[in-house]
């Protein structure tokens, strides 16, 4: 990583901060959990504390008081997907966040029916 201090506005495109995030993640550019995808939902584990967390992780944990997807959390925090994923992965391994997702091969007919009803009702 460059020794230059990250200056605000540097490397920003479309409101998303491109350079600073890699400082936030300690230089990592990929999460080591492959189960965290854009649609994966996160919820804060009841009683999870914010001790020792970075400001961004605290914000993420707060957002996860209600179920929220990684994509929505990224849009909310103004961070690129990859950075949100890395921040989330740390919170998951520390037991502060719970992961929710759906494997397409195990989707049940009743879940599909509920979706069909919801789309028809639009």
């Amino acid at each position: 990583m460059s020794a230059e201090p990250p200056s605000k506005g540097h490397g920003r495109t479309g409101g998303h901060d491109v350079v600073r995030p890699f400082v936030m993640t300690g230089g990592r550019t990929r999460a080591d959990r492959r189960d965290l995808r854009i649609e994966t939902m996160l919820t804060a584990v009841p009683g999870a504390t914010t001790s020792g967390l970075s400001a961004e992780q605290v914000k993420l944990l707060r957002l996860c008081q209600a179920p929220i997807s990684i994509a929505e959390a990224s849009a909310e925090l103004g961070l690129v997907i990859g950075v949100t994923t890395i921040l989330a992965a740390d919170l998951v391994s520390e037991g502060r966040l719970e992961v929710h997702q759906t494997d397409p091969v195990e989707i049940e007919l009743d879940v599909l029916s509920r979706m069909i009803d919801a789309v028809r009702a639009l």
Partner: protein, 204 residues
């Protein structure tokens, strides 16, 4: 890595699983992806960005490394809340070809996909069709009707795209919720058929 859902501590009241389900809306540049997502989403489409590191042609000899540039690529997505536990997300793929490397990130674990086709730029739909066929992602093809474009019959579009006969195909106007709904329902029907077939196959 698998996530266990059923190892809740004893005494914890049983609750239904929280289930996000993902659908992908693909198609060429300007095919109507964002419009389609917006027609179905309960919120105005949100925009999120993924970072992309490109290795520059110039090599930085001083630091002994290649010069890297980080840029971002935007994707739009919408949300349809079925109930407290079930949420449908619709993700539009970035239209530009050079973001093809991101497709796996966007499409892994997608329940199904919609390929939007602009008949004036049929060739732009090939990558999406090829991708979903290769990855066995169930998909439907929706031909968007743009004013002033030549009308093609669906059979001709199917032949031109080389889409197998079992893939459902329809016309749509992505600007209208009712029309976009029919496309999504066509895809959901397809998923019901696939789920039934799977259930039948597991009954010995």
């Amino acid at each position: 890595m698998t996530i266990k859902h059923d190892d809740r501590p004893a005494g914890d009241a049983w609750k239904p699983r929280i289930r996000p389900v993902k659908f992908v809306v693909a198609g060429g540049f300007g095919a109507g992806k964002t419009t389609f997502v917006g027609a179905l989403s309960e919120i105005p489409p949100l925009r999120t960005e993924a970072a992309m590191t490109t290795v520059g042609a110039r090599v930085d000899h001083r630091r002994g490394s290649e010069a890297k540039t980080t840029t971002t690529v935007a994707m739009d997505f919408g949300r349809l809340t079925v109930d407290e536990y079930l949420v449908m997300y619709l993700f539009g793929t970035p239209g530009q070809e050079r973001f093809g490397f991101m497709w796996d990130d966007i499409c892994t674990h997608a329940l199904g996909a919609v390929v939007l086709v602009d008949t004036d730029r049929l060739d732009q739909s090939f990558p999406a069709v090829d991708y979903f066929e290769a990855k066995d992602v169930p998909f439907v093809v929706a031909v968007n009707r743009f004013e002033g474009t030549t009308r093609h019959d669906l059979g001709a579009v199917r032949d031109a795209l080389g889409v197998s006969s079992h893939v459902p195909m329809t016309e749509c106007d992505a600007r209208h919720t009712e029309s976009a709904k029919q496309v999504l329902l066509l895809l959901l029907d397809e998923l019901v058929n696939a789920a039934r077939a799977r259930a039948a196959a597991t009954v010995v």
